[in-house]
Chain length 122, copies 2
Amino acid sequence: MGQIKKTSTNYENRQILDSECDEIYAANLIGGRWTIAICCYLADGKLRFSQLRKRMPNITERMLTLHLRKMEANRLVKRTVYAEVPPRVEYELTESGQQLMPILDQLRSWGRKHKQKTQTYS
Amino acid sequence: MGQIKKTSTNYENRQILDSECDEIYAANLIGGRWTIAICCYLADGKLRFSQLRKRMPNITERMLTLHLRKMEANRLVKRTVYAEVPPRVEYELTESGQQLMPILDQLRSWGRKHKQKTQTYS
DNA sequence: TGTGGTACTAACAAAAATGTAAGTATGGGA
DNA sequence: TCCCATACTTACATTTTTGTTAGTACCACA
């Protein structure tokens, strides 16, 4: 998000890992602060910008916009604009986005187990 | 990595998402630049610090140290120090870390498919 | 004429992650 | 005595991500 400097070591390293490891590439696509949350809310169907915002009280409009734009560029979500006033914009998961859901389910159950374990031991 | 400020909105938002969504919690654990790569190299067994470094020519010692420390704190890897000179330190995946591997496999195949698709269409 | 709702954008600030360069302790061997 | 290897640490700089605040266009409706 924001500007990226294409001559930095940081950027280079990301490119290399992204191109060599498909799992890192995938992790980077879902890695933004709000990305997974948005996916989960869209899993049940289309939502308007304002509906997403209501479901995530802590996100700012700017962050929601940035994440949705990035997710659109990464083809995780599809954006549909209706020529109405006031404007109406709907977001929905692409097929790729939907195929991510079972993996997120597995991450969830791994995370739940792991959280319990670490809370027990520490 | 480095310092975190526990009174920032940024930190708060992460905490809220982490505690509410186990899949976001999990994603944050594997989200560092080099974390997944380290997991993959350790999947085949123990490795010393220097062996990891050789397998990842682009990582700096500082980044490798930070990631390993964070992964140790998050109980993804176990660190064993041998009282020798010169020092010998071995890293290996914990049980939790190993249980992550099938999920990384799925991420990899999703990522590969997704990469092909987006390259085809754009 | 003025207000309202929607989905944004822009300018800026703060925090977090990543990278650079140099230095540390240890004891064994030349 | 000096150099070597290992696994770090420290101080700093840069890049990236996230958050804050204040705006914008549009037209319907009162």
